[in-house]
């Protein structure tokens, strides 16, 4: 039995083209990009090329791209970078990834106000809900481009416009959106935008923060003045090149690939709705990421759902994975207003590059009887 990987929102395999593009930087082009000598210059050229390639995909200028060691670091740099640079409170949506939510709580501390923006039952922030917060002095507003658990796409353009009108810096965590949805900073007036490589076929531990020219932020990591003084540490040239390569591939294939995956996702969604009684598609009323399906199966045991799927060779996820391997209830689903007995037994399928129709068909065959079995067995 071939295992089926449907957890692409967690991470992806590094694409062969990306791996190929990275290899020279572990071998002949191993230089430190800050060095004066030819080894250093060679690395520096490739690093800056990668920065420019990424900037072009985003509609930004290369000096606006700060490479980080991942999406979480980019989020932290955005939040803390602002609160360290300027006074004022923080506003963010209640369904942010913990990289933003917990950074915002920590950055706010005792002294700053933290405004949590409410979301509606579809998992979407209503743009008008930020108006009250915008009347206060704010260091930063942060709303994710698309939610990682339910896939709900947020009205980023509208929120960005309102923030710009109020002259407030707006950050968006685009980790799940970049490479899958049209994400352009020349079309949407965001000030700060987080990205990650490993969600789109790039290496883990590589991310970037877009910082619009003129946006004042302070570094979190001090040292050798790399990345325009905003992120010290010897540059990961291999990672930057891998990221740029993965992003170019993802964006060049985006329209066709998203079309293909949306068809498969919709097929899975309709089949499960038909075959699993009382199944709920979470964020059904929202515009959603075409690669993601989050369903609740009331009456099933949340912990056992993933275990039973794993036993069948199907990799999915639920809530936010605890590092112990356990599962915590999703703050996103409970914030949306789902009762605990509906929010608990939820599962996220996320499709990607290697997903095939045969795989989706197998999940359609396997999942409904598993859920029936699970519902019959009351677990206390």
């Amino acid at each position: 039995m071939q295992p089926i990987y449907l957890d692409y929102a967690a991470t992806t395999r590094v694409r062969p083209e990306v791996k190929e593009a990275m290899l020279p930087f572990m071998d002949e082009i191993f230089g430190n990009a800050s060095s004066v000598h030819r080894w250093g210059r060679e690395a520096k050229v490739k690093l800056e090329e990668a920065r420019a390639r990424l900037a072009a995909l985003l509609g930004a200028s290369p000096t606006e791209i700060i490479f980080t060691r991942g999406g979480t670091e980019a989020d932290n740099l955005a939040i803390f970078g602002r609160t360290r640079a300027v006074p004022g409170g923080i506003a963010c949506s209640a369904i942010e990834h913990r990289a933003v939510l917990l950074a915002a709580k920590a950055a706010a501390g005792e002294d700053r106000e933290l405004h949590l923006l409410e979301i509606d039952h579809t998992g979407t922030v209503q743009p008008g809900s930020i108006d009250a917060a915008l009347k206060k002095q704010l260091a930063v507003v942060s709303v994710m481009w698309t939610n990682n658990e339910i896939g709900a796409v947020q009205p980023i353009a509208e929120i960005a416009r309102r923030c710009a009108a109020a002259d407030v810096v707006f950050h968006t965590d685009a980790v799940q959106a970049f490479g899958k949805l049209p994400v352009r900073v020349d079309e949407v007036p965001v000030s700060l935008l987080s990205m990650s490589a490993h969600k789109i076929g790039g290496p883990k531990g590589v991310g970037a923060l877009y910082v619009r020219k003129g946006t004042k932020i302070s570094p979190m990591i001090h040292g050798g003045g790399h990345e325009r003084g905003l992120r010290a540490g010897t540059e990961d040239v291999a990672g930057a090149v891998g990221f740029a390569t993965a992003a170019e591939l993802a964006i060049s294939e985006r329209d066709a690939e998203m079309n293909r995956l949306q068809k498969l996702r919709d097929k899975l969604e309709f089949a499960l709705l038909e075959r699993v009684p009382e199944l709920i598609v979470n964020a059904a009323g929202a515009e959603r990421l075409p690669t993601l399906l989050n369903v609740s199966v009331p009456g099933a045991n949340s912990e056992m759902m993933l275990v039973m799927l794993d036993m069948e060779g199907i990799a999915a996820s639920s809530g936010s994975a605890c590092s112990s391997g356990g599962v915590n209830p999703s703050h996103v689903l409970t914030t949306m207003g789902l009762a605990p007995d509906v929010a608990g037994p939820s599962v996220r399928f996320s499709l990607g590059k290697e997903t095939t129709e045969a795989e989706i068909d197998r999940v359609i065959t396997i999942f409904p009887p598993l859920m029936q079995k699970l519902r019959q067995k009351a677990l206390i």
């Binding site: 056992m304 275990v307 039973m308 590092s323 112990s324 391997g325 356990g326 599962v327 699970l374 206390i380």
Partner: protein, 352 residues
């Protein structure tokens, strides 16, 4: 799989025997409530050790979060027993009420035929073919005492792969298999008392002002006040420590009276009792008839002492020892044996 050497080797032996094995760690409580940063429970070393062993053995490993049930069925019972002046056996309670029951239910969903643990116990067969729970072969490690509370219906599905082995043999197997847990130290303490001092848990759950943790009198059996104590729940039947000196003789705890908050003390001789009553009975074989001579173990690692069964009512029996036994503690388990076979057991209600 706790992450310890015993359950690691148990899993390895089953894999060797050709079984299709699924490793499970039950997360019984969150360590973060006790100490350290809030994510401690997730990084719990035991879970990671178990996962690493499972990976080494090529088997799946899952974490089942039973914290809510465990808190209700084991920790709350533990606390209320101490508050009532008794000495609970949380491991017995967990085995009977949480661990095996929850594992079986989840195992059935996964299509499992049996549940195995790293307990030093054995399964045998009666002449009529019924499964029997028996002591482990290693007398130093035998853990049958902790298993009397299992539902009888579970017996056909139990496997104890370590039952025929000694602890040194188990460690050797772990080394041979290259398991990372081979040299891991023995855990003696109760899993939810990582500090090793159960009073810490009581203070957190009851509050230090609770009557069970507040001062009272030390009295003799004749009612003479001979001193003071700082909370009867801090004392266990038979202990001498904390009773203080200067009484002209060595004094030992005989029991406590929660209503008056008195701790009763007496001589070494007075700690001996010839009879006890047990309730919350559970039988793994037919109930022994009145007048039957059985072996009774009143605490972990104590040898079984000969006793005669007397039926009190539906829920309780009395056991009369052939020779008096020291420090019988209400709340502890009394486990009833016929030679190596566990017949059943109960909670000690009183000693006479």
């Amino acid at each position: 799989m706790s992450g310890g050497v015993d359950s690691s080797v148990a899993a390895a032996l089953l894999v060797d025997q050709g079984h299709r094995v699924i490793g499970v760690t039950m997360k019984t409580f969150c360590y973060s409530e006790v100490e350290g940063p809030s994510q401690t429970c997730c990084g719990l070393d035991g879970i990671m050790d178990a996962r690493s062993v499972a990976d080494r053995l090529g088997i799946a490993h899952y974490v089942f979060d039973v914290e809510r049930d465990f808190t209700r069925d084991v920790i709350e019972d533990f606390v209320s027993e101490y508050a009532a002046g008794r000495t609970p056996n949380p491991c017995v309670r967990c085995n009977g009420n949480t661990k095996f029951r929850d594992l079986l239910k989840r195992g059935e969903l996964l299509g499992c035929d049996a549940i195995a643990t790293g307990h030093y116990a054995r399964m045998g067969t009666s002449p009529s073919g019924a499964p029997l729970l028996m002591r482990g072969l290693d007398q130093q490690k035998d853990q049958a005492y902790f298993l009397w509370g299992l539902p009888k219906t579970l017996l056909p599905q139990l496997l104890f792969p370590l039952g025929e082995l000694t602890k040194p043999e188990v460690r050797q197997r772990a080394r041979d298999l290259g398991l990372s847990t081979a040299e891991k130290a023995e855990s003696q303490e109760i899993c939810f008392v990582p500090t090793g001092n159960y009073v810490d848990v009581l203070e957190r759950k009851l509050g230090s002002g609770h009557p069970a943790l507040s001062g009272g009198e030390l009295v003799t059996t004749t009612g003479e006040v001979v001193g003071h104590h700082d909370g009867f729940a801090r004392y266990t039947v038979g202990q001498r420590r904390g009773v203080g000196g200067g009484h002209g003789r060595k004094l030992y705890v005989l029991g406590s009276n929660p209503a008056s908050r008195q701790v009763v003390v007496g001589s070494w001789e007075e700690t001996y009792r010839a009879e006890l009553w047990i309730g919350e009975l559970n039988w793994l074989t037919d109930q022994p008839p009145a007048g039957a001579r059985v072996g009774v173990q009143i605490r972990h690692r104590a040898p079984a002492a000969e006793a005669t069964v007397e039926t009190l009512d539906q829920e309780r029996i009395a056991l009369t020892f052939s020779t008096p036994q020291r420090a019988i503690a209400p709340g502890q388990s009394a486990v009833i044996f016929s030679d190596e076979v566990v017949l059943g057991g109960g909670r000690i209600e009183r000693e006479l």
